[in-house]
């Protein structure tokens, strides 16, 4: 089920009413309801893949106990490996199997050995697999690190793994933050409830108005790149920067807002990333739940920055390379991750990690946009062609034809609104506020105006969220 669907509009109030009015007396029944709702939410897309979530849940539930109860470190480690191999095995099979086989065959053919590819399989990528496998792995790792005790409450654990607001596209929650919330009583308060709704409204604005409007121009250029030239590539890349931000930050806000309606607090996933003055800072503001996951479970175990400088730089690079691969089974994502790794290494080497100022914000935005070309391109050849063309054939700017022109104008208008709101939060946070205004008419009127803009300028198709594919 998609957040931006009318199915969800019917689903959410039903679950909320049952949750707060029917099963409100017992945490256990509330968890049962959330578990069923989460499985319905996921099964709406493809019920067959519920078995994977179920398997992952059962596996980590039992492995958690084995790790915790084992007396010897070596046995604990062995059980941790069981969890890791299982979850990474799921991910590897469904997401990366065909990619590695294809790449292997391509490599052989490049060195002159022609082989018929009979190994690839018709595998559908289950929605959200990268998110829930990482979430369950964090549970096992945290028990291994003795940061967490395993829960005996299987329903609470299963609801934690499959919690529908963040199941398919995050934020990737840590068991240490989310699991205890399933074990403790949730209270209904007007403050939390209204804050949840406000986050959802702004999230829908980001998705339906900013991201989906920008997508029309972006797709017109990237999916037909042979017909366009450098200036159009630049415009499409900048719009893509806002498309992916609106799409993913929008999803995260809807997820966080939805969780709040049920009395849960999820971690912040985006903090105005395009106001970062360095790439290092960007990665503390963009997809925070994933970047901190990689920091805690990969970068630091590799030694982090407490090693010799060459090894430190290697750790940075390899972390971003793997982060790139996490985003998709395509060399474009690997290059995108590698580029970000190179940016960070350069910042370490020239000592510009802690830059400040508008000029540095602009430079960072340009660097990040350059990497987005690889992220959005359909293949490496396309990305290389576009980069070359940007520097050699600026050409003329495509402004769209027919309805595309209007779409671009709406996208620009939406981005201006987004920019004003975020710039205000970033630099003038104490000034006028709609959500925190003491006048109720401004608070309610402000959010009514955003809803109006969604209805009036939003794209109401059947668009997926980009991060579903990861």
């Amino acid at each position: 089920m998609l957040f931006n669907s009318f199915d969800f509009l019917a689903f959410l109030p039903i679950v909320l009413v049952l949750y707060w009015f029917v099963v409100y007396k017992h945490i256990k029944w509330q968890n049962v309801l959330l578990l069923i709702a989460s499985y319905v939410f996921y099964g709406w897309w493809d019920w067959r893949f519920l078995s994977l979530i179920g398997l992952s849940t059962i596996m980590d539930y039992f492995v958690g106990f084995r790790i915790y109860e084992s007396q010897q470190k070596s046995i604990k480690k062995r059980w941790l490996w069981v969890s890791m191999l299982f979850n990474l095995g799921l991910l590897g099979f469904f997401k990366y199997y065909n990619f590695f086989i294809d790449s292997w065959i391509d490599m052989l053919s490049n060195i002159g050995y022609q082989s018929e590819n009979t190994w690839t399989l018709q595998v559908i990528l289950p929605v959200g697999i990268s998110f829930y496998t990482f979430q369950t792995m964090s549970y096992s790792i945290d028990i291994y690190r003795e940061k967490l005790r395993p829960t005996k409450d299987f329903i609470a654990f299963a609801a934690f793994v499959s919690f529908f607001p963040q199941l398919v596209a995050g934020p990737i929650e840590r068991a240490t933050n989310l699991l205890p919330q399933f074990l403790n009583k949730r209270n209904f308060t007007y403050q939390t409830f209204s804050y949840g709704i406000k986050l959802m409204i702004w999230g829908f604005f980001l998705k339906l108005v900013v991201a989906d409007r920008a997508a029309i121009y972006v797709n017109a250029v990237f999916n037909n790149f042979e017909s366009h030239e450098g200036l159009s590539y630049i415009a499409a890349t900048i719009l893509f920067a806002f498309q992916i931000y609106g799409d993913f930050a929008g999803y995260s806000l809807i997820a966080i807002g939805t969780a709040k309606l049920f009395g849960f607090g999820l971690m912040t996933n985006f903090k105005r990333p395009y106001f970062s003055a360095s790439v290092s800072e960007f990665w503390t503001r963009w997809h925070i739940s994933l970047s901190t996951w990689f920091r805690d479970y990969l970068y630091i175990p590799l030694g982090g920055n407490r090693v010799a400088k060459p090894r430190w730089l290697f750790n940075l690079f390899i972390t971003f390379l793997i982060s790139g691969l996490w985003h998709g089974a395509n060399w474009t994502f690997v290059i995108w991750g590698g580029l970000n790794g190179i940016y960070l290494i350069a910042e370490v080497l020239i000592g510009s990690k802690n830059r400040k100022g508008i000029l540095n914000v602009f430079i960072t935005f340009v660097l990040i946009n350059f990497s987005w070309i690889f992220f959005r391109a359909n293949n490496v050849e396309q990305a290389a062609y576009m980069v070359k063309t940007i520097f050699t054939v600026p050409g003329r700017l495509y402004i769209g034809s027919g309805d595309d022109i209007a779409a671009s104008m709406y996208a620009v208008l939406a981005i201006i609104i987004l920019f004003v709101v975020e710039a205000k939060k970033e630099y003038f946070n104490t000034l006028f506020s709609i959500s925190g205004n003491r006048l109720e008419v401004i608070r309610l009127g402000g959010y009514a105006a955003i809803l109006f803009m969604i209805l009036y300028f939003g794209v109401f198709g059947k668009s997926q969220f980009i991060y579903f594919q990861f």
């Binding site: 009318f6 707060w20 409100y24 007396k25 209270n187 209904f188 308060t189 007007y190 409830f193 209204s194 999916n223 037909n224 027919g402 309805d403 022109i405 209007a406 779409a407 104008m409 709406y410 109720e440 008419v441 309610l444 009127g445 959010y447 009514a448 105006a449 809803l451 109006f452 209805l455 009036y456 300028f457 939003g458 109401f460 198709g461």
Partner: protein
């Protein structure tokens, strides 16, 4: 259970809903006024077709209809009034909806549906572009509901909001207010001629197809409905295919073969100008390989008028 917190939330939600409805009503009504005040552009033409035209001959179809049928020529040759209701990028579902809205108000003598060979093939954009009909939903719920429900569920709920009815139309309105898009009774001529050497050899591959070659039963039903609607109102219906620059082999085009079959069974005359020798490979008559220029459109309209005259439509 904190009853007080529930009560506060409930009242606030009601207040918020009222404010949302008020904003929607006020701004949505203004937007509707702006929408209907358009004098040129695609929405103005559709509005004119639905609300005003009394023409004896009405032309339906996509860009090929819009760019190939010259009302001035048809009026002169057939001695009847004519309006070109062709809508660029639109397909059968749209044309059928438009026809139903027109027939509710007026009954022309002749309706011409320009047939695209791919009309019956599955096409997502055909559904997506039905949103151009949203502004008319309030006045034509009966005609539009069955068609819009093919695109998405809960049509009534979505189109309850006035601002959603005119979603994404404001830029069109201002654009054509600032720079009017002139048409001649719905016809907009194309100028210039094609240079054959500049047509890519593999143009089929270079063109992004908006359809997949699988028959969509909704489109088949729409075509049959179009025929039945005309028959019920005793309107003479003619299917016409427009000339193209290149010769094309339609012998294996499942969509076109089915259209021909339906036309034959329902006794709808089909004037087939595909591969017409007077047009093909005549660069001076074409703006691009699938669209005639003004000169070509005038010649085509004359040829069409001659063919219609031979049908003797004076007898109803």
């Amino acid at each position: 259970m904190n009853i007080n917190q529930y009560k506060i939330s409930f009242y606030k939600i009601i207040k918020f809903a009222i404010i949302v409805l008020m904003v929607d009503f006020v701004v949505g009504s203004i937007s509707q006024k702006i929408f209907y005040s358009q004098e040129t552009g695609k929405f103005a033409r559709t509005t004119h077709t639905i609300k005003k035209t009394k023409a004896d001959i009405l032309i339906f179809g996509s860009s090929h209809a819009h760019r190939h049928y010259v009302p001035e020529v048809l009026e002169k040759e057939l001695n009847k009034t004519c309006y070109n209701a062709g809508a660029e990028g639109q397909q059968l579902l749209f044309h059928t909806a438009l026809q139903e809205m027109v027939l509710k108000r007026t009954t022309p003598d002749v309706m011409i549906l320009n047939i695209d060979d791919s009309f019956l093939y599955q096409s997502q954009v055909a559904y997506d572009r039905l949103s151009d009909l949203h502004p008319y939903y309030e006045d034509h719920t009966e005609e539009l509901k069955p068609i819009l429900e093919m695109k998405s569920s809960l049509v009534d709920l979505k189109l309850f909001f006035k601002s959603y009815q005119t979603n994404s139309t404001i830029v069109h309105a201002f654009r054509y207010y600032i720079s009017p898009q002139i048409d001649y009774k719905g016809y907009r001529p194309l100028y210039g001629k094609i240079i054959p050497e500049k047509i890519p050899l593999n143009k089929e591959e270079n063109t992004t197809k908006e359809y997949v070659e699988v028959i969509d039963p909704n489109f088949v039903n729409a075509l049959k409905t179009f025929i039945n609607n005309a028959r019920e109102k005793k309107v003479h219906l003619v299917f016409v295919t427009s000339p193209t620059f290149d010769t094309r082999d339609y012998s294996e085009n499942e969509s076109f073969l089915l259209i021909k079959d339906i036309a034959e069974k329902q006794e709808v005359p089909l004037l087939n100008f595909f591969n017409d020798k007077q047009f093909y490979k005549k660069p001076e008559l074409f703006h691009d390989p699938s669209h005639l220029n003004d000169k070509g459109a005038r010649l085509f309209s004359e040829r069409l008028a001659d063919a219609i005259l031979k049908m003797d439509f004076s007898k109803k």
